[in-house]
């Protein structure tokens, strides 16, 4: 598959570069935009970004491998992030994570992100999402969900197409 960045997206990214006195600063915003569009950060995306920002690919690789939100492999179309940190743990996030995993046929004991075989869902634990007062919290792609009971979790799953 050839790697092509649609011209509207490229125009958007060109505009982003103007936000900074130094091009390199735009790299995180580039990676966000590319991941949003392609679903993950491929080798081609890294090289393309490096060329655009007049950097070496290693300058981009070191970001992709450092920042937890970037991923080098495709994940499920609906990516569910469950907060693992203290207030959510006290509020039942482990039970929630287990429930989601068992509903989707995933192994809740496995470390790291897990994806269903049909590529529809991914589930992972993440650290504090800054909404500890409404524990347990989770995100499904860009949508934020508070006080997620098992019923609420089931509703979230059934709304995903």
């Amino acid at each position: 598959m050839t790697f092509t960045v649609p011209s509207e997206l490229e125009a958007e990214l060109n505009e982003l570069i103007t936000h900074y006195p130094q091009k390199r600063s735009a790299s995180l915003m580039f990676l966000h935009a590319l991941q949003e569009h392609f679903g993950h950060i491929s080798k081609e995306a890294v090289e393309w970004t490096a060329t655009k920002l007049e950097l070496q690919p290693i300058n981009i690789w070191e970001l992709v491998t450092f920042y937890p939100m970037f991923r080098q492999e495709p994940v499920g179309r609906h990516q569910i992030k469950v907060c693992r940190t203290l207030s959510c743990a006290l509020g039942g996030s482990h039970t929630l994570h287990k429930h989601l995993c068992s509903r989707l046929g995933l192994d809740s004991k496995k470390h790291g992100i897990q994806t269903t075989q049909d590529g529809k869902f991914s589930v992972e634990f993440v650290e504090c999402l800054a909404s500890c007062g409404t524990a347990p919290v989770a995100m499904c792609n860009e949508t934020f969900h508070e006080a997620v009971t098992q019923e609420k979790a089931d509703a979230i799953l059934s709304e995903c197409r």
Binding site: R24, S27, M29
Partner: protein, 473 residues
Amino acid sequence: MPQEYRLILKHADQAGYTPDIECYLRHGGYEALRKALALGVKELPDGKKMTAQEQIRDEVLKSGLRGRGGAGFSCGLKWSFVDRKSGKPIYLICNADESEPGTFKDRQILHKDPHQLIEGMIISCFANDVKLAYIYIRGEMPEGARLLNKALKEARAKGFLGKNILGTGVDIEIHVHRGAGAYICGEETGLIESLEGKRAYPRIKPPYFPAILGLYMCPTIVNNVETLAAVRHIVSMGASEYAKLGTANNTGTRIVSLSGQVKRPGYFEVEVGKVTLGELIYHENFGGGLREGRTLKAIIPGGSSSKVLKAGEVFKVKKKGEDGQWVPVDMNLLDLPYDFDSLQQAGSMSGSGAIIVMDDSVDIVGVLANLGEFYAHESCGQCTPCREGSLWMSKALHRLTHGHGRKEDANYLLHIAQNIQGRTICAFGEACAWPVLSFVKKFKDEFEARGAADEANAAQGSHAANAVASHKV
């Protein structure tokens, strides 16, 4: 009766209040900016002159505003350190990384009243001759980033931002920059590296004080969302009125994030020091107490990095006597005024204003294991004591919660933590050592008992029972 005092969040939760500029303008929005821009040169009695910028900076200093991001450092003093003679541009960065576990206050401002932050930022930029500023928002707040971008666009369209603001000839631009899931981006020099497009490796101070060598090696101000929002109110009401809120040396209001095992978790804006820790947890206007039949076990008073306080602890705290003298008095944990200085005197800190409450149903070893995992995951890895130590601590805590603990693990944990603090590039070292030091010291019997039980079980060839019992937090 202790109650909320809503200044920054005055409108945020009112029915019909929306984050768009028209709504903000209907509620007096951008009047403080107009006021700031209209300030002329002020002649002092001694004949000296003060520019508009100097007057605002002076007001912020006099207001007593202390940073709401964690360290509680005087905002006016921080601004006074900025190198204004270097000839380099000065940058301002709003720290909207909000990632200290337990904290969810900036989220409220960003999502419900973004213009208030933007107005505070424009005023702060003007006061510090900043032409270009950034809002560094954590990657997991895509909605916040969208709202901010929309708000910035609206502000530009109305002439509050961009070139020649309100016809005054002042140019200020603000852009949104998104992080990507790393806690260390909240540390100001890590944040700066990240904004430069690099890994968020914190820089060593000295020499890299942001006020002198910050973004692109230029003088830079980094302030928290809530701090910058407060600037808007200081300019609009005046420093002396602002300083009447709160208590001496702990002025203004503060948004407290309350979470954990209370009936009514949530965020509460209070006058700093006017409400006690106990009131925040038990009073019906705030947390409403613990769940039925539970007793208090421990409180994390200022975000997960602050030292834990144990129920029943009594501290020596200085209090102003009737003759105006400060005298040390014994104070129970729950009677501590929730401010910067009292918490510090109690050996902890109010940090990011995040209180996490634990009742007697928690497994305290499990709680620390949860935090240990957080820090092991979030260490940036530059300094050996932090990178290795956070992992060792997490491993020891993992085995203590999975039936493989040892009695000496308690001392082992203390030993590692003691060797991290003070030996690292950034304050993350302390952030990961302090919870361990305080939890293990204050609940040592529980840590040792857990390890001893595991050893006894292992001797009998069965650790299964204990493992199951301790797996939940």
